[in-house]
């Protein structure tokens, strides 16, 4: 099994079929095309998006429903197409796609989540991208009270 150096957890072994491909990378990180998700079983709501190319690049993320239980997806037709998803409707959370909000921390605990531009992962094809919303319904700095989200995903 191949292994990677990670930012927070030392060297971890991974399976090729657990790698998500980001054909366009992420804004500001356009050269990063391959990521794995790392979870900590004791806190299943936290997810780490670790770059395979750069050990030092690892995002902290929550499923969007943890930040906002009522979160409504609005992935553009262009992004749906890039993800190999049906262009005519929004995908189903959980079964078709996992949708994550990247988290920024100001100090140890005051955190914000970017609900304006969630990471959308197609679970079937293992493709991912950051889907920037065209509406203004959600904030790019949605405040999170602590690293202890109440809602489950």
């Amino acid at each position: 099994m191949p292994s990677i150096a990670t930012k927070y957890f030392g060297v971890l072994a991974y399976r090729e079929e657990a790698v998500f491909e980001f054909p366009r990378g992420l804004p500001a990180f356009e050269e990063e095309h391959r990521f794995v998700l790392i979870e900590i079983p004791e806190n299943a709501t936290l997810v780490f998006l670790q770059s395979l190319r750069q050990p030092e690049l690892c995002f902290l993320a929550f499923p969007v429903l943890v930040a906002d239980r009522e979160y409504r997806l609005a992935v553009s037709r262009e992004d749906l197409e890039a993800l190999d998803l049906d262009r005519g409707r929004q995908p189903t959370l959980g079964s078709e796609v996992v949708v994550l909000a990247l988290v920024s921390l100001q100090d140890g605990f005051s955190a914000t989540a970017n609900l304006m531009a969630p990471i959308v992962l197609n679970l079937k094809t293992l493709r991912g991208l950051q889907a920037i919303r065209q509406d203004n319904l959600y904030s790019h700095q949605h405040s999170i009270q602590s690293l202890r989200p109440e809602a489950a995903c």
């Binding site: 990670t6 930012k7 927070y8 957890f9 971890l12 072994a13 991974y14 399976r15 657990a18 992420l26 804004p27 500001a28 990180f29 794995v36 998700l37 790392i38 979870e39 900590i40 079983p41 004791e42 806190n43 780490f48 690049l57 690892c58 995002f59 902290l60 990247l102 988290v103 920024s104 921390l105 100001q106 140890g108 605990f109 970017n114 304006m116 531009a117 950051q130 920037i132 919303r133 065209q134 790019h140 700095q141 690293l147 202890r148």
Partner: protein
């Protein structure tokens, strides 16, 4: 902020070499055309915000911060990660 009213087909000029034309207006939004020199960067604002947020998210959290945060959550120093 300067506010102007423009109809479809009308333009406005910014400085000497940038022209912004309203091409069409529908219920879904306004279609804008921009004529500018190649060196002028034109970005959707959301994209710039997303770039900045991603940079902050990538650099904001140190190993020590995370360890401390997780320890507080769990009341223990042992962290067992898993890949999915």
């Amino acid at each position: 902020m300067l506010v102007l009213r423009r109809r479809a087909g009308e333009s406005l000029l910014i400085g000497d070499d940038v022209e912004v034309e309203v091409l069409a207006i529908t219920a879904q939004g306004a279609k804008i055309g921009i004529r500018a020199p190649r060196k002028t960067v034109v970005l959707r604002k959301e994209l710039k915000i997303t770039r900045q947020q991603n940079e902050a998210a990538a650099h904001g959290l140190t190993r020590a911060d995370l360890k401390q945060a997780l320890e507080k959550l769990r009341g223990s120093s042992h962290i067992e990660p898993s890949l999915r």
